[in-house]
């Protein structure tokens, strides 16, 4: 027998979009979402029942018993023990039931199945980093559809919380602890991932995407995420810039506007001319050269990424966390090359020349590799 509901959800599956949750809940895009929403629905109906009952009685009593001042109340007994016991025991039974279904749902969402695909997550102010078993490191969460995924998470600085509304999962990411969370995504697509625990200035921009991909596509992309740096032509490292910049964009603009950190527009020119002034009153040109703090302008950029607290640019606070060990030397070089070639990109970091698109460059490199084989 096909119920209307199952027919609709089948249609939704056919169309590839996840079903919406009840009572304003977001789309149900993980295996546990439907069960959580069922609990949510049960509780909400209980709430609606009692709310309507109580408000109905208030309205009826107010209409019926509103009297001019001085009217004596008709009156009732001042207490009634059986009645009191009844409205103590009935809610008690109800909440015990609610507790039980809530607990069952929680246990299912808490215990990761054995053999789940493990992804390491590092949270820091204010970006996410996802490390894959094959060595790929990316700032968006990519997962294969229909597979149990276990996130093993820690924070580099303060409390954060990983929250994917469409999957109904959330877990605080605590510095000094390894915490885990699991889910199994049911529908291909793009979903929001938020930081849900207040973590300072840029808390509201600490969000990224979850990309749910079919297994083959996932494997292809993750492999590419691992090797894309190797495929870059050495004279055009900057094409990897936009991709690496994704982790920097919540604090550094490309259009000259001031955010938490200095804009990258004109940054390279300022670095070369050495006109950058620091909070301690020193000027960059006095610090660059043989035997000084920075060997050359590139060295300044590299040290600023690895050890941001060393020199803080005037009018800024040292909000940046260290990226020491998070970026390979080649990736730092690519970022520097990106800064040098910002004129080849628009203000959002999109290459002006289609030949500079990372994907195109990688595809070409692959083709060349295959033909040489």
């Amino acid at each position: 027998m096909m119920t209307p509901a199952s027919f609709i959800s089948m249609l939704a599956l056919a169309a590839g979009s996840p079903p919406m949750g009840p009572f304003g809940m977001p789309e149900q895009a993980s295996t546990i979402a439907a069960e959580i929403d069922f609990v949510y629905q049960v509780i909400t109906w209980v709430c609606i029942f009692f709310f309507v009952l109580i408000v109905f009685l208030i309205v009826v009593f107010v209409i019926k018993y509103s009297k001019p001042p001085g009217t004596k109340a008709e009156g009732t007994a001042t207490h009634n023990t059986p009645l009191e016991v009844a409205w103590t025991v009935i809610p008690l039974i109800l909440v015990i039931g609610i507790f039980y279904v809530g607990m069952k749902g929680y246990i299912n969402m808490r215990n990761a199945p054995l053999g789940a695909y493990e992804i390491n997550v590092i949270a820091r102010q204010w970006s996410w980093q996802f490390n894959y078993p094959n060595g790929a490191t990316i700032s968006e969460l990519k997962v294969p559809r229909g597979r149990d995924i276990k996130l093993i998470m820690s924070s580099q600085d303060v409390l954060h919380s990983l929250f994917i509304p469409s999957f109904r999962v959330k877990q605080d990411v605590v510095p000094g602890r390894l915490v885990t969370l699991w889910f199994n995504a049911t529908h291909e697509g793009e979903y929001d991932l938020y930081c849900a625990e207040y973590c300072g200035q840029q808390h509201s921009t600490m969000l990224t995407k979850v990309l749910v991909l079919e297994e083959d596509e996932f494997a292809r992309q993750i492999e590419e995420d691992r090797v894309f740096m190797d495929m870059l032509p050495p004279d055009r490292l900057y094409v990897a810039g936009p991709r690496l910049y994704a982790r920097c964009k919540s604090c550094h603009s490309l259009d000259g506007s001031t955010m938490t950190g200095p804009t990258w527009k004109g940054l390279w020119e300022k670095t070369v001319s050495g006109e950058t002034v620091f909070t301690d009153g020193t000027t960059l040109k006095d610090l660059i050269g043989e035997g000084k703090m920075f060997m050359n302008p590139e060295d300044y950029i590299m040290q600023s990424i690895a050890n941001p607290q060393q020199k803080i640019v005037m009018n800024f606070t040292g909000a940046m966390p260290t990226f020491q060990g998070m970026l390979s030397p080649l990736e730092v070089m690519a970022l520097t090359d990106f800064m040098k070639n910002l004129d080849k990109f628009d203000e959002k970091g999109v290459p002006k020349d289609p030949e500079d698109e990372l994907q195109r460059v990688i595809d070409k490199a692959k083709e060349a590799e295959e033909s040489s084989n």
Binding site: K72, P91, Q201
Partner: protein, 571 residues
């Protein structure tokens, strides 16, 4: 003989307002009524500033982009809003402001047990408030009112936010804690020792039971907050590792300490409000309160259970699943006493003689709002659903339904109820009803929308939401509900400004208040309006404060008086 004894209003020509004059006669007064009034003015001033901060937040969120507040300003603003509302407004609002004025008169006492300690706790409140001002002047703070570690510990060198004000703010909350402890202690001793003959425990008005239960929480839970904040100060100032993992500490331990106080503190805010509602519903229905003992014991039950449920603030914090399950189970136990109260209030309305005066409208608003606030607590106490809803606007909506919509609405209901007693003047009843309506509809528009935002997944404490950051579809939903929430907040603000207007007006131009404008049976309505300096010249005779059979409406004075002949010849 009447169970009510004689009115004492004729005992003296002056009242507590005219008894002595001059600034020092207020600043150094030992009169609980004057201290209550000073608390009231101070608390409402703090409410104004914290409310303005909230308006700034809502204005910023009406549209995407940082068009009104920068992220830094937003973060500071919600910290100020939260910290002021909790520490300076909600915790002292009903116990210290309304309680101070009403408790001794209701009890039939001349004053609280320790008048000097009472004055001292008021000035501690002022000191605490000054520390908050200092915190704002020394760079502000953006930690949120919860001061979660390690964010609140890290120094300015690493943080871009404003951190200079953290230690002054912590000190302020520490000092305010002592103000709260001393008030609680004072009330406990007053209720135990200063009851006049005849005022047995079960003859006390339910407001006093609520204040008593609250006082127990104040005395037992607040020291934990003091210790926690002191540890945080030590850690921040001297780098001693307690909560910071970088120094070998544990940030989750801080959350346990913090909520061990701050959950019971929720009941410091709501219990006295429930006490006020018990009075308002009975007096304005002119009917004996239904189920006195169940309401009284449910206050005590809430105070006790309230200590055992703090872990439900931490379901996603990383505490063990077993603890989550236990805390979830105990959490549901708190819902029962609250349900008992609501049903008893309903039964009190039944077959009453309901007067829809302004205080009663606030009481009915409370019933409506508290029902929603309480029921949505079920979604949050339930583990499976809380994981999704935690740290979203659903939580924001829920606690505003309980804190703002219930505790503060009850406080304003009490303010309108006792205003004639406090000032000796009547306010404009029509404007009072209109203002109540604006606050009620504005409140629901502001916060019901936030339940939907939260279910949709909008995280709290976000300075911005935009189509670029989140999906276009989510953005549309968030924008729609944020917009209407902000509109609602402006309606609510309008209501409060109207209230301010007619209340101030009434102090100068208001009609002289009768001694008993509503027909209340408890002892404060036997005093003159305003009461004399020493409340009662001789200990009043105490009867059943919820028996209204002796009270008669007098058209001439627009108030109630007691039927003397019935008192002498009746029953």
């Amino acid at each position: 003989m009447s169970i009510y004894g004689d009115s004492t209003k004729a005992s003296s020509g002056t009242n507590y307002l005219t008894h002595t004059r001059g600034f020092l006669s207020w600043a150094l007064t030992l009169d609980h009524k004057r201290i209550g009034v000073m608390y009231l003015v101070s608390v409402l001033t703090a409410f104004f500033f914290a409310g303005m901060a909230a308006m700034a937040l809502r204005l910023e969120l009406i549209a995407p982009g940082e068009w009104f507040l920068s992220q830094d300003n937003y973060n500071q603003m919600f910290t100020v809003h939260g910290a002021l509302m909790v520490f300076l407004v909600l915790i002292p609002a009903v116990p210290a402001a309304m309680g101070n004025f009403v408790l001794p008169i209701m009890l039939g006492a001349k004053d609280v047990a320790f008048p000097r300690l009472n004055l001292f706790s008021y000035w501690l409140w002022v000191t605490g408030a000054l520390f908050f001002v200092l915190a704002l002047l020394t760079g502000g703070l953006d930690t949120g009112w919860t001061f979660y570690t390690p964010y609140s510990i890290e120094g300015d060198d690493h943080m871009s936010g404003a951190m200079g004000g953290v230690i002054p703010a912590l000190t302020g909350a520490f000092v305010l804690g002592f103000s709260s402890i001393f008030t609680g202690l004072n009330f406990i001793v007053t209720i135990h020792r200063l009851r006049p003959p005849g005022m047995t425990w079960f003859r006390m008005p339910l407001f006093l039971w609520a204040i008593y239960a609250t006082a127990i929480i104040q005395v037992m839970a607040t020291p934990i907050l003091g210790i926690t904040l002191a540890l945080l100060i030590v850690e921040r100032a001297f780098g001693i590792g307690i909560f910071n993992p970088a120094l070998g500490g544990d940030p989750v331990l801080y959350q346990h300490f913090f909520w061990f106080y701050s959950h019971p503190a929720v009941y410091i805010m709501i219990l006295p409000g429930m006490g006020i509602i018990s009075e308002l519903i009975s007096v304005h229905s002119h009917k004996h309160i239904f189920g006195y003992r169940f309401i009284a014991f449910s206050s005590v039950a809430i105070a006790i259970f309230g200590f055992l449920v703090w872990g439900h603030h931490m379901f996603t914090s990383g505490q063990s699943p077993l603890m989550n399950i236990m805390f979830s189970a105990i959490t549901f136990s708190v819902s029962i006493p609250s349900a008992i109260k609501v049903f008893n209030w309903l039964a009190t309305l039944y077959k009453g003689s309901i007067s829809l005066n302004t205080p009663m409208l606030y009481a009915l608003s409370f019933l409506f709002i508290f029902t929603i606030g309480g029921l949505t607590g079920l979604h949050l106490g339930t583990l499976a659903t809380d994981i999704h809803l935690h740290d979203t606007y659903f939580v924001v909506a829920h606690f505003h339904y309980v804190m703002m919509g219930s505790a503060m609405i009850a406080m304003f209901g009490g303010l309108h109820h006792w205003w004639p007693k406090i000032t000796g003047r009547m306010y404009n009843e029509t404007l009072g009803r209109i203002a109540c309506g604006l606050v009620f509809f504005g409140f629901n528009a502001t916060f019901f929308t936030q339940f939907i935002l939260g279910s949709k997944g909008m995280p709290r404490r976000y300075a911005d939401y935009s189509a670029e950051l989140m999906g276009a579809e989510n953005f549309e939903i968030f924008h729609f509900w944020h917009f209407w929430s902000t509109i609602g907040s402006f309606v609510m603000a309008l209501g409060f400004f109207l209230m301010l207007g007619y209340l101030v007006h009434s102090m100068f131009k208001g009609r002289q208040a009768p001694d008993n404008p509503w027909g209340g049976g408890s002892l404060e309505w036997q005093c003159s309006s305003p009461p004399p300096h020493d409340n009662f010249s001789e200990p009043p005779t105490v009867g059943d404060c919820y028996d209204y059979s002796m009270l008669e409406w007098d058209e001439k004075i627009q108030g109630y008086h007691r039927r003397e002949e019935a008192a002498t010849s009746g029953e």
